[in-house]
């Protein structure tokens, strides 16, 4: 018999071979996780790369002209507690040419009552449209209203949004200044003080609208946000409005418009952002996130993104749409790897390798700390030591929530549950104490 070559794989015993294979697998996994985490961090920090990039993310100063007319769509469902306040604020807008279209389900008399009452205060501005669709969801409500739109530009707001009076003027200027087809304004969750997960939720929005979306606008692939988004009415009609079957109609619209080459502009100005509230319980956060993730999955499966002109854009699309699931995987795999490194008797090199993906994760926490400080300064909020503690200690539990939501989304999508789990709104972001009795019922 020929003796094995000294460098042959077979000179190892079975146990040694198993160990080498296991080591190779662990090192590859941690390599993939590190790359994913590093790329995500890289993109999350997009706006702060240089002082010049940061300056470029802001709205240009408006010239005072009002040339674009707006139709602002506000779908409301069981949101009688917050709707009136939202519309009142919209009416304070400094812009001259706009109308507000409130969309109320035919089975929702409480909200309809509020809507009609507010509409009576400004009949020339407000139109109430009843949505007769059997299955109710936001894209269908928006499509119902699209028929009534008279303005050049369609804007979408949610019923609990606090919109700045100067916003429309800035958006008007942005459309004329840049020749954009779509302008996405900033949205910010404000009630970081409500709970540890609210704080994390607020920071997610902060990093997404302040930074990450600008990168997407730059690269020509953008999942739009659900509100404070403005689209030229003709562009929207040509794209056949929103997809009534998609759980993330906002993301879907962005992807479809991107792949048709629409020009998207993102602008963020702390004073002008639309203020929103976070889900009030972990359960509703979980539901909301499940819906978004499932929506991302649906958009991925629809494959509209394949029409994007360049390979890099398609790669970015694929990466972005699968992002929540990669995130869920790493949220679980990294702690498991670290746990194994600490408690199992691994060779020290492999054990060290499992810690590499932790580096971008921890760097992310450092940047979030800076972000929290910046957030507090920009919005004039007092950030206490307690909040920094929530940030660091809550990072892992929050990642866990996101992971569960991602898994839930996959499970729901592949078992065919595609109904709309609505998020409840109690008005925690409003300055007046939110009426606790008026809790909206979630579908």
């Amino acid at each position: 018999m020929v003796p094995p070559h000294p460098y042959s794989w077979w000179r190892f015993s079975f146990a040694e071979r198993a160990l080498i294979l296991a080591a190779a697998v662990m090192i590859s996994i941690s390599l993939v996780l590190s790359t994913f985490a590093a790329v995500t961090l890289w993109w999350t920090m997009h706006a702060w790369r240089t002082p010049e990039t940061l300056a470029a993310t802001r709205f240009a100063e408006p010239d005072g002209d009002h040339r674009v007319t707006f139709s602002l769509l506000v779908p409301a469902r069981h949101e009688q507690a917050v709707l009136e306040h939202t519309v009142e604020r919209l009416l304070r807008s400094t812009h001259q040419g706009y109308e507000i279209i409130l969309i109320i389900g035919h089975d929702d008399p409480e909200t309809a009552e509020v809507a009609n009452r507010v509409a009576a205060t400004a009949p020339e501005r407000i139109l109430v449209v009843t949505d007769h669709n059997e299955v109710k969801n936001k894209p269908r409500a928006l499509n119902t209203a699209l028929r009534y739109v008279r303005g050049d530009v369609v804007g979408v707001f949610d019923a609990e949004d606090q919109v700045h009076p100067d916003l429309l003027e800035h958006v008007d200027h942005a459309f004329r200044d840049t020749g954009a087809d779509v302008v996405q304004g900033g949205v910010q969750l404000i009630n970081f003080h409500s709970s540890w997960f609210s704080l994390h939720n607020c920071l997610e929005y902060f990093f997404w609208f302040r930074s990450r979306l600008h990168l997407h606008a730059d690269k020509g692939f953008i999942p739009l946000g659900g509100n404070t988004v403005f689209v030229r009415a003709d562009v929207l009609r040509r794209a056949n409005g929103w997809d009534g079957t998609c759980l993330a109609e906002d993301c879907d619209l962005g992807v479809r418009l991107s792949s048709r080459g629409a020009k998207v502009v993102v602008a963020y100005e702390a004073s002008l952002v639309t203020r929103e509230e976070t889900p009030d319980t972990i359960g509703s956060l979980l539901k909301q996130r499940t819906r978004w993730n499932q929506g991302f999955l649906q958009v991925l499966r629809k494959g509209e993104w394949r029409r994007l002109p360049s390979f890099r854009q398609r790669l970015l699309a694929r990466y972005t749409l699968t992002g929540p699931f990669l995130q869920a995987f790493s949220g679980l795999a990294i702690p498991v790897g670290v746990g194994m490194a600490l408690w199992a008797d691994l060779p020290v090199g492999i054990a060290l390798a499992t810690f590499v993906p932790v580096v971008p994760m921890l760097a992310n926490i450092v940047f979030q700390t800076v972000g929290l400080r910046d957030f507090g300064m920009q919005y004039g909020l007092k950030i206490r030591l307690k909040h920094y503690a929530w940030l660091t200690l809550g990072a892992f539990p929050y990642a866990l929530i996101l992971s569960v939501a991602a898994l839930r989304a996959v499970w729901r999508e592949y078992t065919g549950r595609r109904n709309w789990e609505l998020t409840a709104h109690v008005g925690a972001h409003l300055h007046a104490a939110g009426p606790a009795s008026a809790e909206a019922s979630a579908a």
Partner: protein
């Protein structure tokens, strides 16, 4: 200010009129951009000066200076890394963080390219040339980024490169040279004119690598912090830059204690080495080398040996450091130079022989920076003063500095201080027949030569391990009787009282071959086994 807009992609869906103002490159900007693409003439200047200095370093690098024990230690540890024996071929006891000799191991293929003959340590020095080359380029970059003129930046490069003290120290295999290169890299990165977040984060990583290459480099980190703070001043991204820098430093640096933790060697305990135990030893138990001002103390002797090679860079560097400290744009290198000087002056501390390696680049920058500042100040008052000042400086340099450095470097280019080691290595390779089964006690310099000559790695013993490492004692069941040869060198004879076994070997052995001059004599001695067994 303009809003972010999509720049790539296909034709816009709407034929919207784009009347936004475009930044049109002006006539002067276009050639500047083209120049950058083709390669800046300044880059060629810095590269040629670096090549000149590296040539001076390379000529006779094996002959001068004499191989030191420390060089042998680091080279042997790099050998252990390159050959998969762990971080050292003896128990790694966290005496230094290991990154420098890991890098040395990564560079260990370079000497082989040149086919130079000689003792392993002398030949291994060739791997240091790219490291010093990087430092030279970085010094030029740092000076330019601090706003210094081309002539003064070039002067900084040449002062650091051609001072005889630097030529001597930078040829040797010292961990400090790696640390210096990385810390200069960190400084260059935080001074980046683009103020890019990832440059600053990379600077944090470089700082950590510098400290993990040589722990004492930590004291120069404030210079990087000052530069970061200054460069990010009045910018909207300063807090983010600081966050990035801290992430880079901490998240890279933490891998060293993590390594110790995973091996169960973070905390002191019975029967194993530990990182914290090593720190306690270094901080508390290491005997000081006395005050630098006391005649006859170790530190004072060391200072005189440095001054012997080149007083100019040390004296002028110190003066320049003090002078430029108040100048905002030149402050970072002055901060590093000042801290390093203060640390050296502290009474009773331990001052290692290679300490000066860390000071030299900052002193060189300081000297050039002071000259640059003199040029700037003279041109403010009167226009004709500036050429006069520059001519004066050039004359001064030509009469005072050049002759001194010429003679100093002549020695570096011609002396053959390693002939004794070379002959001893030759003897051990050729005259001893049964090398496989011979146990030999040597200093660190000859260790790798013996292993390369075919002695078993376990049977080539660093002399001080005989008395200090229980694991080594265990390999010799009959104590000193198991040793066949001891090679006595100045390093081995330095402290006979502390090492009883070495002393016994020296008294129970006879010289079989001797090399080199009287004061640096290298003796190969065979152990007399018959008399005592």
């Amino acid at each position: 200010m303009p809003v972010t807009q999509r720049r790539k992609g296909s034709v816009a869906l709407l034929e919207a009129v784009d009347d936004s103002p475009r930044i049109v490159p002006t006539a002067t900007e276009v050639p500047a951009e083209r120049r950058r693409r083709r390669g800046n003439p300044e880059t060629y200047l810095a590269l040629s000066l670096t090549a000149l200095v590296v040539t001076v370093l390379a000529i006779n690098i094996t002959g001068f200076p004499g191989a030191s024990d420390d060089e042998g230690t680091y080279l042997a540890q790099a050998w252990a890394v390159a050959n998969g024996k762990g971080l050292a071929h003896y128990t790694y006891w966290y005496d230094h963080p290991p990154l420098a000799w890991i890098q040395l191991a990564a560079l260990s293929w370079i000497p082989g390219l040149f086919g130079v003959d000689g003792p392993a340590v002398a030949v291994g020095r060739i791997a240091m040339l790219p490291v010093v080359g990087a430092s030279l380029m970085l010094i030029y970059t740092i000076c330019r980024r601090m706003g210094m003129a081309v002539w003064s930046s070039a002067a900084a490069l040449l002062i650091f490169g051609l001072s005889p003290l630097a030529v001597t120290m930078d040829r040797e295999i010292y961990l400090d040279s790696f640390a210096v290169a990385w810390m200069l890299g960190a400084l260059a990165l935080v001074l980046s004119p683009r103020r890019h977040l990832w440059h600053v984060t990379a600077a944090g990583v470089a700082t950590a690598v510098a400290v993990l290459s040589k722990e004492t480099m930590l004291v120069t980190a404030p210079a990087v912090a000052v530069a970061l703070w200054q460069n990010a001043a009045r910018s909207s991204t300063r807090p983010w830059a600081i966050g990035g820098y801290i992430s880079g430093v901490v998240l890279t640096g933490v891998f060293y204690p993590l390594y110790a933790l995973l091996r169960g060697e973070l905390f002191p305990g019975p029967g194993h080495v530990s990182l914290i135990g090593a720190w306690q030893f270094q901080l508390a138990n290491r005997s000081g080398s006395g005050s630098i001002f006391t005649t006859g103390s170790g530190a004072n002797d060391l200072l005189h040996s440095w001054l012997f090679y080149d007083p100019i860079i040390l004296v002028a560097g110190l003066v320049a450091t003090v002078l430029i400290l108040p100048v905002r744009r030149l402050r970072p290198p002055a901060v590093a130079g000042a801290i390093l000087t203060l640390v050296a002056l502290r009474p009773g501390g331990y001052l290692p022989a290679m300490y000066v390696v860390q000071i030299l680049p900052f002193f060189a920058i300081a000297i050039a920076a002071a000259l640059d500042q003199a040029g700037v100040l003279s041109s403010i008052r009167t226009r004709w003063l500036r050429p006069v000042v520059l001519t004066l400086l050039a004359l001064l340099a030509a009469t005072l500095v050049v002759p001194r450095w010429w003679t100093g470097n002549q020695r570096a280019l011609t002396a053959d201080d390693n002939a004794g080691y070379a002959a001893a290595a030759d003897y051990l390779r050729t005259a001893v027949s049964d090398r496989q089964n011979t146990t030999v006690v040597v200093d660190d310099v000859l260790w790798l030569d013996c292993v390369n000559a075919g002695y078993q790695q376990e049977k080539v013993i660093w002399f001080y391990k005989l008395d200090l490492d229980p694991a080594v004692k265990a390999t010799l069941p009959h104590g000193w009787h198991d040793v066949d040869y001891i090679v006595s060198t100045p390093a081995l004879r330095q402290d006979p009282a502390a090492l009883p076994t070495v002393n016994t070997l020296l008294t129970n052995s006879a010289v079989v071959a001797a090399f080199g001059p009287q004061e640096g004599r290298i003796e190969v001695r065979r152990i007399n086994k018959l008399e005592n067994s």
